[in-house]
């Protein structure tokens, strides 16, 4: 297609709002979030449990479970193969939505078992994913599947291909899910805590794989995790969320090395580290100001490009 994407962003989210009606009233799971994902870069979303990370990710694929719904805002996808897609306005039966979910954007879910079907072999499932997006022979699909399983660190992939998900350990299942998401060669990969259940050696392998493939394919990644070590290693940009809002965003160095928002500082202080061995860990609540979050304060863009939700007088002069 000749009309190339108009900008360097592959995804632009504007004032996204997602509500869930509950017996206690409306829950604003995502309460006005704006960010963009740059082409070829990895954006990490961090934040406590319940801060709206998964719901934000689900919105991009339009996978919010009813009674939840997108209550406002827009999400646009600028694919290299398609004209821009306005995701929020797509009808539920629009062909583009299928295309979006299966090919342009793929997602690794937080709970791997939901992504695998117990009655088909692992090989069947990976090959099916390949056939959906690529016009290849059965043999070729199997070769790709074996290669991908090998790359996510599954030993003896030719044999493992013929087994069922229940014959895999938890960590191995998660690697299969990663493999399945990657064979589709998506333009955007959304990974929701893909390595939480993995041990470090496998995690390092999966992180390296995601990095390599991104270089190879030039795709973008949205990486949701609570492991700051993982963020530091894989992300280019970081968003810090709390209660459905963005509190701070910027490059990985800006956010991790010189955070501005007290909440971000609290989040970083809570990581166990060498210097504090055996002592009580600081929790977010123990960092002064970290919990004084005024959700009505809009994000300010600072001169170095990062954004932070603090009133101007509270932003340290050195960073403005």
């Amino acid at each position: 297609m000749s009309d190339k994407a108009p900008n360097e962003n592959v995804i632009e989210v504007e004032d996204l709002r997602v509500d869930f009606p509950t017996e206690h009233g409306l829950v604003h799971a995502v309460a006005g979030v704006s960010f963009s994902v740059k082409r070829g870069r990895v954006l990490a979303i961090v934040g406590e449990s319940g801060s709206g990370k998964s719901v934000t990710a689900f919105s991009i694929l339009r996978l919010i479970q009813p009674p939840g719904y997108i209550a406002g805002g827009s999400i646009k996808l600028f694919s290299q193969k398609e004209p821009p897609i306005d995701i929020t306005s797509l009808k539920e039966d629009d062909d583009l939505l299928y295309h979006l979910r299966g090919g342009l954007v793929s997602m690794i879910f937080q709970e791997p078992m939901t992504a695998l079907c117990p009655v088909y072999t692992v090989g069947n499932q990976i090959c099916e994913a390949i056939h959906l997006h690529k016009d290849v022979t059965k043999k070729e699909a199997e070769r790709i599947a074996v290669d991908m399983l090998d790359r996510v660190g599954i030993p003896k992939p030719e044999i493992r291909l013929r087994q069922y998900p229940h014959e895999f350990s938890g960590g191995m299942r998660q690697r299969v899910v990663v493999a399945m998401a990657l064979v589709c060669m998506p333009e955007v990969l959304i990974a929701d805590e893909p390595t939480t259940a993995l041990d470090v050696t496998i995690q390092a392998q999966v992180l390296t794989l995601i990095k390599d493939l991104r270089k190879e394919l030039g795709g973008s990644v949205i990486f949701i995790t609570h492991d700051i070590g993982v963020v530091a290693q894989i992300a280019d940009d970081v968003i810090v969320m709390n209660q459905g809002k963005i509190l701070e965003s910027g490059s990985v160095r800006q956010v991790l090395k010189s955070p501005v928002h007290p909440y971000t500082r609290g989040l970083l202080a809570a990581i166990p580290s060498l210097s504090q061995r055996g002592s009580r860990l600081p929790t977010i609540d123990s960092i002064p100001g970290a919990r004084d979050i005024d959700l009505t304060v809009p994000l300010h863009t600072l001169s170095d490009g990062r954004r932070v939700a603090l009133p101007t007088e509270k932003i340290p002069a050195t960073t403005t």
Binding site: S49, G171, T208, V231, G266, P272, G278, T283
Partner: protein, 294 residues
């Protein structure tokens, strides 16, 4: 100090757990075995936290479960300093074990499947008291409310069902349930792995506070080496069912000797973006050799 004070709380000697591998077909002949735990030996001192680390499938969970007799060992001995003196767990009958189970608890890996979905949180947390016939209903409720407060859940959470909680909250419910019997020995199997850093820090602090308050002893199974390094006094590294290295925490991190330990430590992502991850991804020849010798 009496002699029994200095004795290890737990002495594990040559513990083995093999699982049979069956052939396909009706007769399901045993054709092989998985040596999930293969001659494991270690001690844990009272009040100590021993970390058990190793890759997925190395046998950590099986080892922990075999120690607690949730699985019966294939071979080996487990000596436990109970409140009434030393007992050898591996040979006890189920009946003899029951009173001891109060003193040894496990906090599980999977917060999604380890809680009964049809019971309220209050019911789940009180249940161990009920099983062991402790207290009146009012006392049990009081104790449950107490322990839920300790793990930072609200009293009104008592009436809710597990599905209404986030992963982190469910994990804290599991911890409350394990703690309500005031055990002396607790196995934490990936107890904080599913928690975000803020809750993780709270739970780690909680586990350390409780350790001090009640002189608890922990076997801490985990794959997050940052957490293990923070709370463990010593660390045992497991690979293919065997312990390959066991040392004081600082020593292990500053001087890992076994190639597998070195590989494990090299894979920890540093929270500083300027310190790149340089994992040793492949087992070295040296490591293969070390393995063959075991």
């Amino acid at each position: 100090m009496t002699a029994s004070d200095t004795k290890p709380l737990l002495r594990v000697q040559n513990l083995c757990k093999f699982f049979p591998v069956h052939a396909k077909g009706i007769r399901r002949k045993v054709i092989d075995e998985v040596r999930a735990v293969d001659h494991v030996t270690f001690d844990i001192q009272p009040g100590e936290t021993l970390g058990l680390v190793g890759e997925s499938g190395s046998g950590k969970t099986t080892c922990a479960r075999t120690i607690l007799r949730a699985l019966s060992p294939t071979a080996g001995r487990v000596h436990f300093q109970s409140e009434d003196g030393e007992v050898e767990l591996s040979s006890l009958s189920e009946h003899a074990l029951k009173p001891l189970r109060q003193q040894m608890q496990m906090i599980f890996q999977d917060p999604f499947s380890s809680l009964n979905p049809r019971m309220t949180v209050g019911g789940i947390v009180e249940e161990p008291l009920l099983i062991h016939g402790i207290g009146t209903p009012a006392e049990r409720r009081e104790k449950a409310a107490d322990i839920l407060r300790k793990v930072d859940l609200l009293p009104e959470h008592r009436e809710r069902y597990p599905h209404a909680f986030s992963g982190g909250q469910r994990q804290r419910i599991g911890i409350a349930r394990a703690l309500i019997l005031r055990p002396r020995f607790i196995v934490c199997d990936e107890a904080v792995s599913a928690l975000d850093v803020s809750v993780q820090a709270q739970v780690i602090n909680l586990l350390m506070d409780l350790q001090e308050e009640f002189h608890l002893t922990y076997l801490f199974v985990a794959h997050d080496l940052g957490v293990v390094r923070h709370i463990c006094d010593r660390i045992a590294v497991m690979r293919n069912g065997k312990l390959v290295e066991m040392k004081k925490t600082e020593e292990l991190f500053s001087n890992p000797e076994h190639p597998y330990t070195q590989r494990l430590l090299s894979a920890i992502p540093n929270p500083d973006p300027d310190i790149p991850l340089r994992p040793i991804l492949e087992a070295s020849e040296e490591e293969e050799l070390a393995e063959a010798k075991l």
